[in-house]
Assembly symmetry: C2
Homo-oligomer: 236 residues x 2
DNA sequence: ACCTGAACACCGTTCAAGT
DNA sequence: ACCTGAACACCGTTCAAGT
């Protein structure tokens, strides 16, 4: 006969009644902020939850699905822009809002890019906001869809590049000196890369926020122009 | 005394005098086309070259560096657009040219996104082309840099999404029926996602090539508009 | 100079078995 | 219903040792 410890003395798992999807996703988000995308593994997540890795597969079918859940959770705090503003401004505000929530968690953009198409409620809400703004602005259905993906992808891609390496051209070409990159750029053969050499200091500078607003503005202008051409064609 | 096999009967490694970086990169590109990005591992690459994985590290410092080399190799076939054309058209041609070479190899866009900033000769050549077109068009130095990254990132991101899942919204939400995605979209709560539901069939359709050209056109329009505003401001 | 053996420290996932 | 042990089939990378 084995000695049976009283249930009182069991691990008791704190006060929690047990795991569920939402607790797993919450823990995954914490782990992401602590250890980054590469540190988020099924094994490390299990350890954080005081269970074994295999147990996660009772609650979640695969790591891919977990990442989709996590992606949606990251998008939860998105707020809807004031609908009375002109569509240009609404898109600008929404773009900045999306960037804001992506910058709120470490490697969030990487999670979003690796998690496939939006299917959760929060990302669907974001899609709904973009599309409704574009439809209200007067875009044709297919154009609204294309423009929606363009805007969504722009922000995701931008923040992904922005967080993967502070400077889009710098990184570890030569990982030593601070302005080693500029030296490297300026030392390039001028005959072959005249523009790159000429713009060396501008390639280095590249303020992230300013660059983001530049892209938003180009997209606004481009969409406005497209809409104007379409409308005038409709009227003729 | 051990039996020494004659050198004649050695593996002889075919006729190749030995490995070098370029042969490793060529083999990596073959392997990429055969097995995709996830199939490209140091171990499988070594097997293809009839060596052991550890040997690769004598020629290449890390897998990251190998991917950078591979990224540059993928960009080798890029051709320069006719410089006598208007800058709008040059950018459009270059964008399509870049997309073309990315679609020429399996998962090429994933290699490019995971390989960091351009530092090899071919990607630098691509950067040079974009920047010189923009400078010739009359963009201010910093604007040319921002616009260059915008264009480059647009194509990379687009092809990356395009090849990861044929349809940007479809994929495996419900992996069964062909139009199961449309059913799923249309079954969404209309109160919460009216625009998504209304655009369901357009979200499904989404012709890749048409969508790519739409994005290029928006960027063209946006840049043209930006340039016009700047120029008029300079003249006043 | 170039390559291998063998290990280190990991991965995601499965599945019979426990409670 | 929920969790574990133990394995399967992998990873990238290092380094002493071989030739």
């Amino acid at each position: 006969m084995k000695i049976q410890p009283s249930k009182i003395y069991g691990p008791k798992r704190k006060v929690e009644p047990g795991l569920d999807r939402s607790k797993i996703v919450a823990a995954a988000l914490d782990l992401l902020d602590e250890d980054g995308f590469d540190g988020l593994t099924m094994r490390s997540l299990a350890k954080k939850l005081d269970i074994k890795a295999a147990s996660l597969y009772w609650h979640v079918p695969s790591k891919q699905d977990l990442l989709s859940l996590l992606a949606d959770e990251i998008c939860a705090p998105i707020r809807k822009p004031d609908g009375t503003l002109p569509w240009r401004n609404q898109l600008e505000i929404l773009g900045n809002e999306y960037r804001r929530i992506l910058l709120a968690h470490r490697d969030a953009a990487r999670v979003l890019s690796s998690s496939g198409a939006p299917s959760g409620p929060n990302r669907l809400r974001l899609t709904e906001m973009v599309l409704s703004i574009l439809l209200d602005a007067g875009f044709a259905p297919q154009d609204a869809v294309y423009a929606g993906f363009l805007l969504n992808d722009y922000v995701t891609m931008f923040v992904s590049a922005e967080t993967q390496s502070a400077n889009p051209v710098a990184e570890s070409v030569f990982e030593d000196s601070p302005s080693g990159v500029q030296n490297w750029l300026e030392a390039l053969p001028v005959n072959e890369y005249p523009s790159v050499v000429a713009l060396a200091n501008h390639l280095i500078k590249s303020d992230s926020d300013e660059r983001f607003q530049f892209g938003i503005k180009i997209l606004q202008n481009g969409l406005e122009n497209h809409l104007a051409n379409r409308s005038s064609r409709d009227h003729n």
